[in-house]
């Protein structure tokens, strides 16, 4: 039991401050605090030079310009050396003409992987699963996604989550299922009976007092 705990490490939760780190990356030594003021997507992949990870890195590189427009930085991670990351990034560029524009952590000692609960021994004791941590400009964890080794991530969903979080922060609203930018948003439910009665008179599109939507 203790051994498994040691392999899993801490499991961070949404709403907590992201665990601080200082790590060797393909862009030099980076600290989490270097990203303060920007949104950050910290994501792990199982290993360099593997097929699903290669498709994901190409896909992350392709959405990089869209992320930049939204003030989001990308930071990859795996339990590989920096030389392996550099060789893989160069190989991807040579074979597919896609340049990897973001840094990748070489987490050989698993310090960051364990701090973020990226090792799931039921899947692999040595490789990180496909994690996505969306960290806000105040370095708070806002979203956590875990995918198994065999399933590549969906970039549309990652962009959609960023849009949803930024819309929530800007307007103090929530977003309904399958929300896309431009769709109606959910008005936070009232907290008192008086507010519930008033809610129905406020001109929102309401199913009932607790489910009202509005156009932004």
């Amino acid at each position: 039991m203790e051994e498994i705990k040691e392999q899993v490490g801490h499991m961070p939760r949404i709403g907590e401050l992201a665990p601080a780190f200082e790590a060797v990356t393909t862009h030099g030594v980076l600290k989490l605090e270097d990203f303060k003021g920007s949104w950050l997507i910290l994501f792990s992949h199982p290993a360099d030079f593997t097929p699903v990870c290669t498709t994901e890195f190409i896909a992350f590189s392709e959405i990089h310009p869209e992320l930049q427009k939204r003030g989001v930085e990308l930071l990859g991670l795996s339990v590989d050396s920096v030389s392996s990351h550099i060789a893989w990034a160069r190989n991807v560029e040579e074979k597919t003409k896609v340049k990897i524009p973001f840094p990748i952590i070489a987490d050989l000692n698993k310090e960051v992987s364990l701090a973020y609960g990226m090792i799931h021994p039921g899947q692999s004791k040595t490789e990180t699963v496909r994690c996505v941590f969306i960290i806000d400009p105040n370095q708070k964890i806002r979203t956590i996604l875990y995918y198994p080794l065999t399933t590549g991530r969906n970039m549309d969903e990652i962009l959609r989550i960023i849009d949803a979080l930024q819309t929530t922060d800007k307007n103090g609203v929530a977003t309904p299922a399958n929300w896309r930018p431009g769709d109606k948003v959910v008005v936070p439910p009232p907290n008192t009976q008086e507010m519930a009665e008033e809610r129905l008179k406020q001109g929102y599109e309401c199913v009932d007092w607790y489910l009202c939507k509005k156009k932004l």
Partner: protein
């Protein structure tokens, strides 16, 4: 290191940052704006340049050191 080579000389991005410091004391945000480098790269780069003695930190801003100025002449 990303901004300083093992031989102690600044890399291309390191040189860009040192040149941005030629005009006086600058914050990391100003350097990012001047160089077009991402802010996280500027922050980590400034750490390296300072450790290598090529830049000096004054509170939250940075300036070119004598050694740094000599390298980008």
């Amino acid at each position: 290191m990303a901004c300083v080579s093992p031989d102690g000389k600044p890399t291309e991005s390191g040189t860009k940052m040192l040149r941005a410091l030629q005009t006086g004391l600058k914050s990391p945000e100003e350097i990012a704006k001047n160089t077009g480098l991402p802010l996280f790269r500027v922050r980590s780069g400034l750490r390296e340049l300072t450790q290598a003695g090529l830049a000096d930190q004054k509170e939250d801003s940075y300036t070119l050191s004598e050694k740094g100025a000599g390298l980008i002449k």
